[in-house]
Symmetry: D2
Subunit: 338 residues, 4 copies
C-alpha cells in the first residue's frame, strides 16, 4: 500500500481526487489537509457526496507533522504559491510530489516567475516531469516531482499534439475554449454568483491566461508563433469544450487525421477519438476520466475544426493526477479509475 | 414632475426600481445612491441592461446633501438598518419615504426589534402604511412613510387574504415557497455561487424567516395560529412560486373561490386570477409587474392548493413600490408599469 | 453469477440501472433491450458516459428470444403497459422480475386499472412485493415479482413511515415535492424543452398523480385520510426534494423524533438521517444511492417540517432496484452500490 | 397608423415581434397568424408574458383573407418555405414584406436553392434588400421586400464589416459563436430537452450552416476565402456571443480599431462599441435591442479577438425587423424600441 497525503483536499479538484484515491486499491490515505483557502468545514460538509467515504479527517495544513512522517506521495491541490513553498521540503524529506497547481508547469524560471509569482528553485523546474500522461514515457516511473497539467491545457494539447507536424505555422492556431464555473474554484465573490452567471457567457483572460505559455511549451511552439487561446466562462458547473481551428501545410484526408490520432493514442485508456466528422458533445465525458476528440475537415482538407471535451475536475485535474500516480508507483493505468 | 431619489440603487431590486422610474412620465430622478453594500461600480457596469437609461450618476450615499435639498420622495432599497436610520430625518426634512427594506413592516416594536435589530421610533412603526397596494384604500394618498412588503409575503398574502374567512383555523395553513437566487441580493459568498447552486435546492429559515411575522400580521392571524412558512432556494435567478395548502371550515365550490378572488381583485391591474383548476407556472410573470393566482380544490372542496407566482424583484419589490408611489402622488395605478 | 436482462435499457432510469449492474460482481448481463419508446440508438450513443462499459449490445425487445432462454432475473424499466404485459409470461418461464414501472405497485386491482390502465392478473398484484427495501424483511428473498417504488413515493414514505404513529390524523399531511426533469423521461415534447423549463417552475398533477395512491397504500392511510401530495417540476435534471409538513397528536421533542428514525433505519446503508434541526440540501445525494432525511420541529413540537432528498434515477429507481436484487439473490445490501 | 400583420406570431421570435409592435405608436396590428408549425394555442398561452397585450387574436394562417384585405406590411416569421411561397402574392397584392426567415437572404438563386430549398423567383432575390439596418442607406425607404438577417450573421457581420479592409485575406477569419436554445425554436424534439442540454455544450453545423453563405455574401468574401464559422449550442435560453479571431494585413493600434468602429456606427442607436480592451459579456444585452462589440489586440496588433453579443430574438430577429420597419415607413430608428 502506498501512503498518500492530499493538501488542498477541500477544493473542488481536491475533493474529486480524494474520492478517487479512496477507491484506489493500492492507496492508503495517511492525511487530508485543507489549504488555507479551503478551510472551514469538514470534508463531508463541503462535499456531502463523499459522505460514505473511508478516510482520515480533514485538518488544517500542518507542515511540521507532514514532514515528520513523510508519506510516499503528497498531492498538492493548493494555490500555486503554497505548492511552490512546500515542494522542496517534501522532496527533501523523501516524499514524491504530484503538484496539481501551476507552480512547476513552466520549465523556464523567468516565465514561471511572471505567471505564478515567486517560483521554486530553477533546479526543481528542470526536474519536474510535465504529467500529460498519454505523452509521457518511462520518465514518470522515476519522477520525484510531477507537474499535473492545467485543465484547458490538457484539452488543447491532447487535440493538437498529434497533428503538429501537419499544421501550417504561417497561419494562426485558434483555441476557443469553453469552461464550467468549477474551474474557478469555490470563491466568495459575487462575480461568480448564480445570479450573475446564469444565462450569461463571457470571454476572459485574452492574451493573458496562465495556460497560454503552458500550451506553447508543451506543443514546442517557437517564440512569436501564431497561436491564440481564448477561454470563456459558461453557465454550467463542470467540463471544458475546446474548439480548435487549424490550417494545414497541405490538404489532408480524413484517413490521415484519423491515423495520426490512432497512432498517438493507441492503447490510451482515457483518450477516445471519434470517427472522422463526428464532434463530441460535452456531456459524453462529464463525470468520467476520459477526454474525447473529434474533427471535421473544411475547405477540402486545407483546414479543420477539432473539438476536445473533458471534465475539468477529472481528466483536467484529479483523474490525470491518479494516472500519473499509477505510472509513478507501477500500477496499471486504469487502477482506481474504471 | 415628482422629484425622486433612490438609495440602494445598485442592488438587484434597486436597479429594477431605477429602470421603472426612468420610464415613468411623472418622475424626475434627482439622485441615485449606492448603499454601502452595493457600492463599487457605476450603475451601467453593475446593470448593463440599463445602458441607454437617462438619469443621474450613482454616487455613494451622502445624507447631508440628501437632507439639504430633500426630494419629494425617497425610495430606500437599502439594508434594513440603514433604512431604519435614515427614515426619520428624511421625513423631518419633508420627503415622503417608500421603504423597500423590512425595517418598517412590523407594527409591533418588540417584533421589529427581534427580527430587524434596532427599530425606528414606535411612532413611525405605527404611522407606516403597509403597502400591499391591492389591499390599501385611501391611506396611501396621505402616507408619509410606506413599508413596501416582502417578496415572499406579497405572494402569500395576495393568495390567502381573500379566503381567510373560509379557512379552518383548526388546521394548519402551509406555505411552501420557492424562490430564485436574486432574492438573496448580490453577495460575496461562495454559498450563493453558481457551482454550489446549479442543480441544487434547499429549504432554509424554517421557523425563523423574517417574512413569517409579516405574513401573520397582514393576515390578522392570532398568536399561536397554525401557520407554517417554508422558503426554498431554487436554481434560477428570478421569481417566486408559493404553493399554499389550505383547509376550509366547510366544503367550498369552484364558484365560491373564484368569486372571492374576483371580488378582492376587481379592477386590480396587476393581480390576475386564473380559471378554477388552472395553476400558473412561474415564467408567466417573470419580467412583469403581475402576480398570478390559481387554485385547485381537493377532497370535494374541503381543502385546496393555491399557487401564486410573481417576479420577486418587481411585484415583490420594485413595481409594487411604483404602484405605491402612484397612489401616493395621484397617478393612475399602471403609470410607468404598462 | 446471476444472469440478468434489462428491458427499457435506454431510458434515463434504465441506463443508470445498466451502469450499476455492469459494476456488480455477481451479475452477468445476458441481454439489454430498448423499450419501444426508447429505441433508435445504441446504448453508448444515448448514454455516452457508459462508453467504456462491458456488456451486450442494446437490441429491440424480442419477447420470444427472452422467453426461450429465460435469465434468472428481468428488470423491467419500460412503460407501465409493457411491464404489465410481459411480467406473467416471464414469471411462467421461470425468471424472477423486478418491475421499475408502476404496473404492479397498487395491490387493489380497481386502483391499478384506474391509474395504470389494464392491470395484470389480481393474483399477480397480490403476489408482488412492494420493494421499498428498508421496509422489507425476509419477503424479498423468496419474491418472484418485486414492484420497485416510485421516485416521489420513496422520498415521502421513507420520511413519514417512522413517524406515522405520532402524526395527528385530524390534520392534513402535506407533501410538497420538487423534482428535476429527468423524472419525465426522454420526450419529444416541446413542453420539456430547455427553452420552456429554464428559469421556470410549475406544480402539476394536483390531486391526480399516480404516486398519490401508492403513498397512501404504503403508509396505510384510510379512505378519506387528510393527505395532500403536490409535485413540482424544477429547472434541474436530477433529484427530488420533498418537503413534508406534519402535525403530531402530542408535542414531541427532538430526541423522540431522532429516536424514531434511528430505530427505523438502524443498519440501513442507504438512508441517512441528519441531526435534529438540520435539513439536507439536494446536492448531497445527486449521483448517490442514498436518501437523506432531516427535520425541524415547529410550534414547540406540535408540528414539524421534514425534508427528504434523493436522486430520482438512483434511490428513486435504479439503485433501489439493485438493493432489491441483492436481497432477492442473497448478496449484501451494498453490493454493486458502494 | 400603419396596418401590420404578422405570420408566425407564436414562435419565439414572432412573439417578441408582436410584443414590440404592440408598443409601437405608429402600428395598428391588423392580424396575427400562427404558422403551421406554431399553431395549437393562444398567443397568451404560448407567451404568457404578453398577457396584458392589446391586439387581435392569433388565428391559423388564412392566405385568402390576408390577400383580400392586404395590410401595409406583413412580417413573415415563418419557416423558410412558407415565407418563400407567400411573399410573391403579398407583394402583388400591394403589401410590403419583412421576411424574418432565410428565404430571401441569398441573392444567388443557386445558393438559395441549395440552402433553403425551392427559392422564390430570381427577380425577387435580386430585389430583396438585406436588412442589416446599420449598413443600409436609403434603400429601405423604398424597399418592397426586406430580408431580415440571421441572428448569428448579424453578430458576425456587425463586428467584422468595419475592419474588412484591414483584415489579411491570406489568413483565416475564425468565427466561433455561442447561442442559447431559443434560436432553435420551439421543437418537439428530445434532443432539445432540458434533460439533454443542461450542463452540456455542443458544436454543430460545422461547414454546413445556412448563415455561412449569408455572412460571406454580406462581407463580400470571394469564392474560396479563408473563413470558418462554427456555432455552438449552450445551456441558456437567449443570446449569442460570437468570438472572432482575426489577423491584420499590418499591425494596427487600438486607436485605429476604435476609430473604424466609431466611423461605422456613428449615430447607430443599437450598436455600442466598448473601449479598447474591454469585451462585453452576454447579459449586457439580453432583453435589449442592442448589439455590443469589444476587441482586444494580440501580438502587437497583428491579430485581434473581437467579441459581439446580442439577443438572438431581438437584434438577431424581432427588434432588427422593427428597425427596418421604421426605415421603410419613415419613423425614427428607435420608435417602439426605447
Amino acid at each position: 500500500m502506498i501512503r498518500a497525503a492530499v493538501a488542498g483536499a477541500t477544493g473542488y479538484a481536491g475533493a474529486e481526487l480524494v474520492a478517487l484515491l479512496a477507491r484506489h486499491p493500492g492507496v492508503e490515505m495517511s492525511a487530508l489537509y485543507a489549504s488555507e483557502r479551503g478551510a472551514g468545514g469538514t470534508m463531508q460538509d463541503l462535499h456531502p457526496r463523499l459522505a460514505g467515504m473511508q478516510g482520515p479527517p480533514v485538518e488544517p495544513l500542518d507542515r511540521a507533522r507532514l514532514l515528520a512522517d513523510p508519506p510516499d506521495v503528497v498531492f498538492l491541490a493548493t494555490p500555486h504559491e503554497l505548492a511552490a513553498g512546500m515542494a522542496p521540503s517534501l522532496l527533501e524529506a523523501g516524499s514524491r510530489v504530484i503538484d496539481l497547481s501551476g507552480a512547476h508547469r513552466l520549465r523556464d524560471a523567468e516565465s514561471a516567475r511572471r505567471w505564478y509569482g515567486s517560483p521554486p528553485e530553477p533546479a526543481l523546474l528542470a526536474e519536474a516531469v510535465y504529467g500529460l500522461t498519454e505523452w509521457c514515457n518511462g520518465e514518470l516511473a522515476e519522477a520525484r516531482l510531477v507537474a499535473n497539467p492545467g485543465c484547458y491545457a490538457t484539452s488543447i494539447i491532447l487535440a493538437l499534439k498529434p497533428l503538429m507536424d501537419r499544421i501550417d505555422p504561417a497561419q494562426p492556431i485558434v483555441c476557443d475554449s469553453k469552461s464550467g464555473t468549477s474551474g474557478a474554484g469555490r470563491r466568495n465573490d459575487a462575480a461568480f454568483g448564480f445570479s450573475e452567471l446564469d444565462g450569461n457567457v463571457r470571454a476572459y483572460g485574452v492574451g493573458g491566461h496562465r495556460h497560454d505559455p503552458e500550451i506553447r511549451q508543451a506543443l514546442g511552439l517557437p517564440e512569436g508563433a501564431r497561436f491564440c487561446f481564448v477561454p470563456h466562462l459558461l453557465p454550467m458547473v463542470r467540463g471544458i469544450l475546446s474548439t480548435l481551428h487549424l490550417s494545414f501545410r497541405e490538404p489532408v484526408g480524413d484517413g490521415a487525421l484519423s491515423s495520426a490520432y490512432a497512432t498517438a493514442y493507441a492503447g490510451a485508456r482515457f483518450v477516445k477519438v471519434l470517427p472522422a466528422g463526428q464532434l463530441p458533445e460535452l456531456r459524453r465525458v462529464v463525470g468520467t476520466p476520459r477526454a474525447e476528440i473529434g474533427f471535421a475537415r473544411l475547405d477540402e482538407g486545407r483546414r479543420a475544426v477539432v473539438v476536445c471535451v473533458l471534465d475539468n475536475l477529472l481528466k483536467g485535474a484529479a483523474s490525470q493526477a491518479v494516472q500519473n500516480f499509477n505510472r509513478m508507483f507501477g500500477f496499471p493505468d486504469e487502477e482506481g479509475l474504471s
